[in-house]
Symmetry: C2
Subunit: 699 residues, 2 copies
């Protein structure tokens, strides 16, 4: 646990410590003194004592080599002081000062680069700069100038990890109102050295932490995040994230705020899906999920039984659960029949259950209804809607039901009259809003059901031929041959250089056929008329050959390598599969149906590499248009399994190709009827010029 000194320090020096408990150098002094932190050394040449503690003129005078220094001094003085701390043998520091890369100005950017270089050279772990610092409630350590976290705040097992100081305080307050208690609060700042994923990796191993609430603007190190997130999943700890930038305006604002790399929203979605992150749709959702996680042991999924004293509330909750991806399973007759015995005809008993006025009349009615509603296998959670004024008289029955049940009971009371603590003591969760309850239950249940998708990359099955130096792309023929070596079935073609060769090849291949102009200089040939379909005679072929060559000759800087002829396959469904590189998370596969489906309807699925055949088939089956592959309107079923194998082979090929590749796409991948396979009709392999990758990343 490399961040031990930073997050669980046993001794702390504060450079620039102040007697004024409202200043950056005074707040952490005040907090730590009030927390009774003993090995605390204020450093300030102007004082001999600060807030009752002996003050030292400089770090060299401090009587021990502290675990951690807090630098509450201006940016211009930070680096020199860090050097002195390093010379003293200190291993960790927090830099509060602003004036670094967040300024978007050369001086600040250079200053941050120097800080990064310092940390790299010395091995000292430097948090910040431009951060609010941290709090560790279990160990009573407050290394922050934020005032939202106070000694005496209850310690718990939830960590809060944010890239914004304001959102750190906001989420903390929201979660505290819900009764959530914290292990750590961490504001990462500019992440010049210690980055978001470093903290997450620490928290994954921290025995005091079993959940992390994260506010993310942009990640710097996607691979490290994925690894830490997988560690959370493996440890059964909740990782829940609110990520800004779902809209273009929001992404722009987040980018401007952090000056981090621009992450693609789809890549974040794919990354969170790959690691089974519970993603909050609203900032407040983080607090709700942490709250629910406190009851989490009894929640296995998001199948919901609903008991309600109001038919309306049952309907509203059913809507909210269904719209958020949960289920409201219809009860079996063995549950409905006994409920019906106690509920008049106008009360629904199939789920949701309308308890009607019976609650008032019978001592055991609610208990019995809860027992029945919890009994079906497809029920994971029981939601009970009770207006607050009913809660007192229902409490005993609910307590008994909760004590007996292996599943979670959640009370929803829109009158907000419930005693959250009393209910929690009985193991009952409580919400005062329909939609927040439904969202939390659905997202949390889905998180419980989900697993991490991360796969180990398979060993490369083949290798790419030497890439042509200085070329932006492989020819189509070369692209298909290269992919074929990795197991992608391709349509082989004949390359011809004259009318005569074309006629002869056409006779050999048979009709109908497709002719394409071969050139490394044109990426999308259809738009330029450089692909001709349905050629049925030798004359058709000759005419197409001449027209395409003439067209290409009329375009500037287009080299003509010839024309390919290939059989035009009949039947089948066209899909596309492409792999692009996200600057944060690396290779990402996109799968969709051909043409307008992808372009107009955005009916695509994304997943980070590696992707195996099972994963590719899941992606295909997740498309709205999958029914087109599945025997739509009497058409033969397409060979989705073969398509998935071809896509997996594409992914293997991309991983083997590494940094030389910029993008690889099969479009179309023709999926033939079941048992007949799938075949890449066209392929595009874009290359990185050797010097380009860094330039591209910085762009």
């Amino acid at each position: 646990m490399t961040l031990q000194s930073l997050l669980k320090p046993r001794s702390i020096a504060i450079i620039g410590a102040s007697s004024n408990a409202t200043r950056v150098g005074g707040i952490p002094m005040d907090l730590l003194v009030r927390a009774g932190f003993e090995r605390l050394y204020p450093v300030n040449p102007k004082n001999t004592e600060i807030q009752g503690r002996a003050c030292f003129a400089d770090i060299e005078s401090v009587p021990e080599v502290v675990d951690l220094v807090l630098l509450a001094i201006g940016a211009e003085d930070v680096l020199a002081y860090l050097e002195r701390c390093h010379a003293r043998g200190i291993k960790a520091a927090i830099v509060f000062a602003a004036g670094y890369a967040e300024t978007n100005e050369a001086e600040g950017i250079t200053r941050q680069e120097a800080l990064t270089a310092f940390a790299k050279r010395t091995g000292m772990r430097v948090a910040g700069p431009n951060c609010m610092g941290n709090a560790n409630f279990n160990d009573n350590v407050f290394t922050t100038f934020g005032t939202s976290f106070q000694p005496g705040d209850p310690a718990g097992s939830t960590a809060l990890l944010t890239q914004s100081g304001n959102m750190c305080a906001t989420v903390y307050r929201m979660a505290r109102r819900a009764g959530v208690a914290f292990s750590h609060v961490i504001n990462t700042g500019n992440e010049a050295d210690v980055d978001f994923a470093d903290y997450l990796a620490f928290l994954a191993e921290d025995s005091a932490t079993d959940a992390a609430l994260c506010y993310i603007e942009e990640l710097r190190d996607g691979a490290a995040f994925l690894k830490a997130a997988a560690a959370f999943r493996a440890a059964g700890k909740l990782l829940t994230v609110y990520k800004v930038g779902a809209s273009e305006k929001g992404a722009e604002a987040a980018r401007s705020h952090t000056a981090a790399l621009a992450g693609d929203s789809a890549a974040y979605d794919a990354a969170f899906a790959a690691t089974g992150v519970a993603r909050a749709a609203e900032l407040g959702g983080l607090a709700d999920l942490a709250y629910l996680h406190g009851f989490g042991a009894k929640i296995a999924g998001n199948g919901c039984a609903i008991l309600s004293v109001s038919g309306a509330a049952g309907a509203i909750l059913s809507d909210a659960i269904s719209l958020n991806g949960g289920t409201v399973p219809t009860f079996p007759e063995s549950v409905q029949a006994p409920l019906r015995a106690s509920i008049p005809a106008f009360g629904m008993v199939s789920n949701p259950v309308d308890l009607t006025g019976n609650l008032v009349n019978s001592n055991d009615f609610l208990f019995e209804a809860a027992r029945l509603a919890l009994s079906p296998d497809d029920v994971d959670v029981l939601i009970v809607f009770l207006p607050g004024y009913f809660l007192d008289r229902a409490l005993d029955q609910l307590q008994r039901a909760a004590a007996m049940a292996a599943k979670q009971i959640v009370v929803v009371d829109t009158f907000a009259l419930g005693d959250r603590a009393k209910l929690a003591a009985a193991g009952i969760a409580y919400f005062d809003d329909f939609d927040r309850a439904a969202r939390a239950i659905c997202i949390y249940g889905a998180w419980k059901m989900g697993g991490a998708l991360t796969l180990k990359p398979a060993a490369a099955k083949a290798s790419w031929p030497a890439f042509p130096v200085g070329e932006p792309a492989l020819s189509e023929t070369a692209a298909k041959e290269a992919l074929a070596a990795f197991g992608v079935p391709v349509v082989h073609d004949a390359l011809v250089h004259s009318e005569g060769e074309a006629r002869e090849a056409a006779r050999r291949i048979g009709f109908p056929l497709v002719a394409k102009l071969v050139s490394p200089d044109v990426a999308h040939k259809t738009e330029h008329g450089l692909i001709r379909l349905s050629l049925k005679t030798e004359d058709d072929v000759t005419a197409a050959y001449n027209a395409m060559v003439a067209k290409a000759q009329s375009m500037p800087n287009v080299r003509i390598e010839g024309v390919t002829l290939e059989p035009m396959l009949a039947g089948g469904v066209e899909i596309l599969a492409g792999v692009t590189r996200d600057p944060v998370f690396g290779w990402m596969l996109t799968v969709g149906l051909g043409g307008v489906w992808t372009e107009l309807m955005k009916d695509v699925r994304h997943r980070l590499l590696p992707v195996d055949a099972a994963g590719a088939e899941e992606m295909l089956r997740g498309l709205k248009g999958f029914r087109l592959l599945d025997g739509y309107r009497g058409a033969p079923k397409a060979d989705a399994a073969a398509a998935a194998r071809a896509i997996a082979a594409l992914c293997d090929a991309v991983l083997a190709g590494g940094d030389s590749l910029r993008e690889v796409e099969i479009n179309p991948l023709l999926v033939l009827p079941e048992g007949q396979g799938a075949v890449a009709v066209d392929a595009l392999v874009l290359l990185n010029a050797p010097a380009q990758p860094e330039v591209e990343k910085a762009a």
Copy 2:
């Protein structure tokens, strides 16, 4: 205002009045006495005085003909007592008792039918049964056994109208927490006589009401609702609705709860769109919209400027506004430049604006930033994010900005420390949650921008031929001819009855052509192989003719009227337009692109009739796939205007056909290149058997 006696009574008798202020007959007594309501007459043969008021043995003894009676007696006694009230000349009653149609049992249903018949016969307006009653805060009248509404609650101009007693109380409490004050609270109950739309029509004319918050499960009278909603729009009053049943489970639960007609969710969407209703996505949204409406005069749309002391909050708000349909327009240079002068390079100034730490340093900075941010024409609302602890020092500047501005300022403070009343006094709206603020602003702004779409139906341009008695559908030929009379361009076809006629007609029409079997007994012919495309020779036609006739002969109960031949049109884009009848709202038009677009992608638009050509074109342009009509990938633009005219003609035809029609569909409507028109290739006209309409409605 026919409901005057019911909602603004000057004198009230309570049948079954009680001294016990916790009973149904005691609560309204208690409320009215405490409210100082003078002409109040408890009726109970067992008492001479109740809660300090003289009590009467029966309604006949009450010394005046009261405006309203409340019946706090059992269902079995209600009707007889109503007859006595009617005999006494009383014009309005509220029936609290349950035991009517909501029981789903024959006795209760019959009892309710008798109540409806009574009201119809006597003209007495009867509210309920099975309702909680009403409250009128301006006139201090509490005719309810609900206890959430109390004398002394502030009176205001917002009405609450719900189909559920529990949700009535829930929304009231939510809105009161936001500071909303009410004119009326109305719980409609079973609506045996006075229905939802009746109340809405009253509120549209009620001078004390300028907004209505509605909770709807199912409407009984769609046409009356549309009329009342249009009256709200015309009066500039806010009508905001939360409708359960967006999911199948929710719809099922709502249906069971009210035993009302099952409304189609799409029809409700269309009805709300047609009348410009502000639809809340969550129950709490009703309260938020009412709250914002209190500041509504200064809000003209949902273009938002955002000032924030936190870059993160700016990003989150930008996301939330964008995702809820609002805009965050980029400021012009004339606004950015002066902002930039006061904000360091790292603070974004283009909108959202990151105020950075400057707020603390300058007295006029926030005022000046607000003035600038409010200045662009495309800004309707200024959202200022300030953590609560900043609010005090910012208040003076915000107040000055609000006083100066013709647009609304909304403060968002996720720390929930703001003084809502103090801000309201300065004309500043306040939210403590990003998403609730964004949703309310976006929905409210859209409501302000929107207009009612309701059109008057045009005079019928033609008439339908006599409908064949007992037939479920017109033949395709007859269907197209009938629509053609209303101005729908159709492909005319030749009806043939033999191979020989087929060959001759084919020669006359020319190739390629399409052959279709004509039968009133098969609705979807493609699936049965009864449509053959691309027939290129006379032999093709003969073969198709024989195959289809043989196929039809092999199907049970299929009458064969012949085969039609028509030209197969090349080019163009296929769309579909169909009109179906919703049991609540009547005729609804559905428009979509052909085939898989509609079936798999659900890319359709709905609108209630009447629809004119402009409306139809808006629907087409609203399709995700509209680009296919708009010159996609170099194809010629399709004649969308002609398609819209054809669709409008279809709608005219349906309105002229009236109750005899069950459903009319053009599929496909082939939209040819611009200037070449659109033509109905196939049409389906389903008929109602004369006796069927009522049966269908009751199903």
